[in-house]
């Protein structure tokens, strides 16, 4: 939840609906009512962010940077080279690595920074393994390095400095080709310290500098050529022209907030050009299209985790999370850039064909110019270093694998987490929870989790329970456990400053709070009022936090209680842009340096706590609002405080698709919309769409009317029940896809182009998507829709409507008439999808239920699929290899199940109750051969009109080898 405007805060204070503070309320009422949507003035534009403004003022052209080729050092794992800025003579150190799995890492830092610059830790899962590079050629203009196979080379040009990665004759990617590399070196403030030093104790300053120099020399002593560098530098220093200070370099004010910037300017920037590329994706989170837009003439995309009250659609403003990864794609190749930097970041995108006027394009046509498209991407960050991973693909799945090898894969959720989640701000008390739980049974609607928002606590003191409303939490949790259901309770990372609150006292006494620039505990305003913010970047703090989830620490918790981390951008109601002051301190680092990774650390610490409380046995579940690169390892995220509007339903698709492309598969949007009251039609459509999105949770603002699924008349209850039941029937697919995401980094919910990379018609599609590669979903997202037009990809392929089994050809736009019960979904011909059609009241109840296999034949009469089974909730699949992973394969009229993981061991009671073959012809007989070789006949039915063959009760165990032969 948000509402930094104070709206929620006031509402919370009013509970239950009593205007205790009438005068204040009235005053705020006017403030809030005026703000129908986001108040943009609360958030900076590039122009208002001084480093972005400074950087963006630089125009492409001659770069002042030059590579000093004589400083080249080449080892097995890397090369280093110094760069010099000819304007100020400051030197940079370039490091180049060739990484295993077809990646190149480019790192640029100051050769001798005044003090260390922040390098983001804890995101890479390991120090990426390198592969040797070889120097192929060198002259005074540059050098050529071989990246091993595929004729891939890196060309380093010296003057100006530029990198080109080429494959054979093709340039894949260029760095600094537009000359926008900028590295604001750390410096002392001229008008204060440095001048005083030069005039008074100048000699001391010299000696300080020489200490830094000699230290550096010692570091690089063995690497030859440093002496030269030292000499050269001395010369350079003579010629240094002092750079002019620009506004905002040493202090910046936004609204009433002042950023003291004791370290002065420190921003960095680098441009990348993708020749031949017209489509780039990624850099979430923005409420915008899947395909990234040209930012010429407007603000860049902003990455700065912020709690944005009532965010607007189709706007490049920053939202709650940031993943600095951009993916490029054309029919030939998919690549990615991972810009590992946690500071405020802006990304400019300009596309040289997209930007052309119609006239310009016509001139090209007339003059026969056949200029290939090109997309230029420029990254600007406020601090830190340049640390870039170029993921060279070439296929989409290669990029996913490359990124996964760097930052890890999606945490594998328990089955129940893939079920339906019932949430609201707030369920009033234990009786309310019980009544809602019973309502689901009464209306025969499955659900797995019920959620408690902030009102469940004792005065917004997390880890506690309201003594009146939730007096017996264990009783409540036991009641849910008896129904094989679970609960999530919110634990936010702001801690009420209250000497009677144990959590606060311990954090304070352990000195774990974030500090102000002056060293006091940083305090800000959030739900509990005045709050402290634990320093989650501190590993000791995280370990302590994790320990608080132990059953004996977190009173009232039980093993079916899980956690939700909200407000972890962090949200500070009275802070600049509703977040923390940039000059606040996390140990020796400024908040400026770590801002975008703070939320990841919160989720991580909670994730570790939930693992530890079960002794490392149970898979945890943590939902987070803020995120960063690597957050996929720790659980689920959702798109924050959306609204009950059709546009928000629509945008949930590209928002989750964008996240999936950069590793975060467990994504969802609040079903029904958080703010405002959805029409019944919108609510039903949202359930239908949400049932086919990875994280399926309804949520609503405190001030909205109740919206449990049975409150809208029996017809709508039936529609919602059916949508949720479709979700539960498909849980075997969801589970297998998440296992796949965990193993490979491939997104669960996929943009069409990922599976059809050579089909340009798919490149900008964002109103439909694939689950895995076999299920195409085109939810209805328009009010009063009578039909939708779905694009079915794949020339020569076929798709089967999963409801009617009707077959459609690929590579066509198909108009599908819809009614209120329609959820257009298609299964790809050539795939096998397993379902559990015995939908029960929670996923746990369905664990050993039998499977029905849906075999959708390709035009060639083949099909393939997988089935994955384990205990559905522990880490034993990983630690003990206790799982079943089987390949289901149909060809030559034989359907067989074979083991994909011979070294695994697990047994299941689940069996195959039915096989439905779509696009089949009538057999004479069907025989089943079991693992032990015994044969038996299988009864069947054939619907010749629909070409659907149904095998009655093969009855084989889901974990066994078997073959069914159609004769």
């Amino acid at each position: 939840m948000t509402e930094p405007e104070g709206a929620k805060f006031i509402a919370a204070k009013m509970a239950p609906s009593v205007d205790r503070m009438v005068p204040l309320l009235v005053a705020l009422l006017f403030l809030c009512l005026g703000a129908e949507a986001v108040d943009r003035s609360n958030f900076k534009t590039c122009e208002q962010s001084s480093f972005c403004k400074r950087q963006r003022e630089l125009k492409p052209g001659q770069s002042p940077y030059r590579a000093l080729l004589d400083t080249l050092e080449l080892s097995d794992s890397r090369i280093t080279l110094q760069l010099i800025n000819d304007n100020n003579k400051v030197r940079l150190l370039l490091e180049l690595y060739r990484l295993q799995g077809n990646m190149t890492r480019v790192k640029i830092n100051e050769l001798k920074p005044l003090k260390p610059r922040y390098e983001v830790p804890d995101v890479l899962i390991t120090d990426p393994p390198t592969e040797p590079m070889t120097l192929v050629a060198q002259d005074e203009n540059g050098l050529v390095l071989s990246l091993g196979v595929d004729e891939q080379r890196v060309i380093v040009s010296a003057r100006p400095f530029r990198l080109d990665i080429v494959e054979g004759p093709t340039v894949l990617l260029s760095l600094n080709s537009r000359g926008l590399l900028t590295f604001e070196h750390l410096r002392l403030r001229k008008d204060t310290i440095s001048h005083k030093i030069t005039s008074t104790v100048g000699s001391m300053w010299d000696s300080i500098k020489s200490v830094f120099s000699s230290k550096h020399d010692a570091d690089t002593e063995d690497g030859g050529g440093s002496e030269n560098a030292e000499q050269a530098e001395d010369e350079d220093e003579q010629a240094v022209k002092e750079e002019e200070d620009k506004p905002g370099m040493w202090e910046e004010t936004f609204k009433t907030h002042s950023d003291s910037k004791p370290n002065g300017p420190s921003s960095i920037s680098l441009d990348f050009s993708f020749p031949g590329v017209d489509h780039v994706y990624g850099i979430p989170e923005h409420a915008d299209t899947l395909k990234l837009k040209n930012t010429d003439g407007g603000d860049p995309y902003r990455l700065y985790n912020l709690d944005v009250f009532q965010y607007e659609l189709h706007n490049l403003m920053a939202l709650y999370g940031a993943v600095p990864v951009i993916i490029s794609h054309n029919t030939q190749r998919t690549m990615g850039i991972f810009w590992l930097n946690a500071a405020e970041t802006w990304v400019d995108i300009s596309s040289s064909t997209a930007g052309k006027t119609v006239f310009g394009k016509m001139m090209d046509f007339v003059q026969g110019s056949n200029e290939a498209p090109q997309t230029d991407v420029r990254w600007i960050s406020e601090s830190g270093i340049i640390d870039v991973f170029v993921m060279l693909g070439p296929k989409p799945n290669d990029v996913f694998a490359q990124y996964a090898s760097l930052t890890g894969t999606q945490a594998f959720p328990s089955l129940s987490m893939l079920g339906y989640h019932q949430c609201r701000w707030n369920y009033n008390d234990q009786e309310d929870v019980k009544a809602v739980d019973e309502g689901f049974d009464e209306h025969d609607i499955p659900y797995d989790f019920i959620w408690l928002d902030i009102e469940h606590t004792d005065g917004k003191r997390y880890f506690t329970w309201d003594p009146n409303k939730f007096a017996q939490p264990k009783e409540m949790l036991q009641g849910l456990m008896d129904k094989r259901r679970k609960m999530v309770a919110i634990v936010d990372p702001h801690i009420k400053v209250d000497s009677g609150y144990k959590i606060h006292n311990e954090i304070r006494s352990k000195n774990f709070y974030v500090k102000t620039k002056d060293g006091a505990d940083y305090e800000g305003w959030c739900w509990p009022g005045n709050s402290g913010y634990p320093d989650f970047t501190n590993p000791e703090m995280r370990a302590w936090w994790a320990s608080q989830f132990a059953y004996d620490q977190y009173k009232g918790s039980m093993e079916n209680l899980y956690t939700w981390n909200d407000m972890n951008e962090p949200s500070v109601f009275n802070g600049p842009e509703v977040t923390m002051h940039k000059d606040a301190l996390h140990g020796s680092w400024e908040h400026r340096d770590v801002h975008n990774i703070y939320g990841l650390y919160v989720q991580r610490a909670t994730f570790e706590g939930l693992i530890q409380r079960s002794g490392g046995i149970e898979r945890p579940f943590v939902l987070s609002r803020a995120f960063f690169a690597g957050s996929q390892r720790y659980g689920a995220i959702w798109t924050g405080d959306n609204a009950a509007e059709w546009g928000h339903l629509k945008i949930s698709i590209p928002m989750c698709l964008s996240l999936g492309l950069v590793g975060i598969s467990f994504c969802g949007a609040d079903v029904g919309g958080f703010f405002k009251h959805p029409s019944t039609e919108l609510l039903v459509r949202w359930y239908q769409a949400g049932a086919y999105q990875p994280f399926f949770r309804t949520h609503a603002h405190l001030d909205t009317p109740r919206r449990e699924p049975w409150l809208f008349g029996p017809d709508n209850t039936a529609l919602i029940r059916e949508a949720i039941r479709q979700r539960y029937a498909l849980l075997p697919l969801w589970y297998q896809l998440f296992y796949n995401a965990y193993r490979t980094g491939q997104p669960v919910m996929r943009a069409l182009w990922v599976e059809y990379p050579k089909e340009p018609a798919t490149f900008a599609i964002e109103d439909e998507y694939l689950l895995g590669k076999d299920l195409l979903v085109h939810p209805v997202t328009d009010e009063g829709a009578k039909g939708v037009t779905a694009y079915l990809p794949g020339k020569g392929e076929v798709w089967y409507d999963v409801h009617t089994f009707q077959k459609h050809k690929g590579a066509q736009n198909l108009y599908i008439p819809v009614t209120m019960s329609s959820i257009p979904v298609f299964q790809r011909g050539g795939s096998i999808i397993s379902r559990k059609n015995r939908v029960r009241r929670s996923s746990v109840c369905m664990e050993t239920d039998p499977y029905t296999l849906y075999v959708a034949l390709s035009p060639q009469g083949t099909a393939e699929g997988e089935i994955y089974i384990d205990d559905f909730h522990t880490f034993n699949f990983e630690k003990e290899k206790q799982f079943i992973h089987r390949r289901l394969h149909f060809s030559d009229n034989a359907l067989s199940s074979s083991n994909l993981a011979p070294d695994s061991n697990f047994s299941t009671a689940a069996w195959i109750e039915k096989v439905i073959i779509l696009g089949a012809s009538q057999p004479n007989s069907i025989s089943l051969t079991a693992a032990d070789g015994t044969k038996s006949a299988v009864e069947f039915e054939f619907d010749s009109a629909a070409s659907v063959l149904t095998l009655r009760k093969p009855g084989v165990n889901a974990g066994a080898d078997w073959t069914v032969l159609l004769q």
């Binding site: 609906s17 809030c32 309310d432 025969d444 009317p705 069996w911 109750e913």
Partner: protein, 533 residues
Amino acid sequence: MMTCTHLLFMISLAVSSGAAVEVQRPRGVPLSKRQFYEENKPFTCLDGSRTIPFDRVNDDYCDCKDGSDEPGTAACPNGSFHCTNAGFRPTFIPSSRINDGICDCCDTTDEYNSGAKCENTCKELGRKEREVLQKMAEITKEGFLLKQQLIQEAKNRQQEKQSKLTELQNNKKELEEKVEALRTVKETAEQPEKEAKERHLKAWEEQKAIIHAEKDKAKMAEAFLELDDDADGFVAVAELQTHAELDTDADGTVSETEAQGLLGGVDRVDTASFENVWNNIKDKYVSESQPVEPAPVDAPPEEGSKPLADNDSEQYPSDDDVQEEEDEDDEEEDDYPEEDFDKAPPTIKTPPKKDEDEEAMPPYDDETQVLIDAAQKARDNFEESERALRDVDDQIKNIEKEISFDFGPDAEFSYLYSQCYELSTSEYIYKLCPFNRVSQKPKYGGSETNLGTWGTWAGPEDNRYLVMKYEHGTGCWQGPNRSTTVKLTCGKETTVMSTSEPSRCEYLMEFTTPAVCQEPDAVNSLLHGHDEF
């Protein structure tokens, strides 16, 4: 993997007229449908859609579209399972709850193959339910008796009200006549009073004019002496010029021409002619004997009035006082009590002019006073009778209003009228004043919130007197006006049992009253009717 067929049949123990009978039938089939499931005969789906061999009944595979072939397994998505629940109430559960690890049937029959440890709780549940129903029956019985009383009382009250109304209406007629009579008396007495007063005033005015003229004359003489500086018996131009306040063209000085003008065009005047001059200058003239008032700048009145206004705010009663006053009144117009105070402006007292003291009118002469007293008495009598008439009018209106409410088919709810019932929770005191309003007040300070005023009966069609709806309460932030639904249940006492806010600003109150208690017969049939056996 496959559910074992030996579990196909169950033996159910049924108790009927004291004799134990074994009835064999497929698992999950209710007794009433036993005849459709004949062993070793092909089974026809109950919807008639197809016929299957009997060994496919309960074989854990769904053959019938209506789910009827799998009454005892979870195979059919639309099937249902019958729990006999001997000792309690038999029931159907969805097939999906068979062997799902959760005990649904109190006789445990739904969990025959899931490993769930279920205990047979039917007897206990049956006992408890009987207890509850018995208790309910007792309550209903007593409640129904109370209801009869309420109905009788309501009748009496209604009659009382009716006769009171008739009485009041008669009363009103009399009063109206009385008012008219007294109005005539009053008007008759007021005529001579008015004349006598006017006479007295006129005499006083005349006397005042004489006194005034004398005073002016004295002042003029004094002024003449003062102006006649050289004591030559004339006031000359130069002498006038010393009095700058007499300046006529506002240039600050009295020029010769101006002075001449004031003197009527001559250079000097004697005492006699001064009278004309005096009339021109007396308004401006400042006596030399009095010190000139320091700059006649008006003291800004705000300075004095501001603190006065602040002090005034203390006169406002605190919110609590207002609320209490409001509570005692039943009238809706009291919703904005503050208005009365808003209208009272802070009174700024202006000091009375001392000069006028001497000009107070002398008291009326005895004769006039007698007339005035007589008229006043007539006025008082008239007003009193008018007040009495208004009172009677109000009473009539109130009774008519009360009579107009729908107090139920037998007016059994009329006893709730003009009563209030409170419920105290941890944070708030809720108050239900039936047919009037619902409110909520924080226990520890803070003002009362209106949760809705009487709207309508809103129960289901068969008995709309089971639910009351109160609407249009205080508005919610970004939300609707507060409203309250009051659910009425049978009880001996008239009490608010609970309150909750299921949805933001929509309150729910549970309220017991004997007025909704049904005839005990209906409850008895409930108590005994469920026994299938």
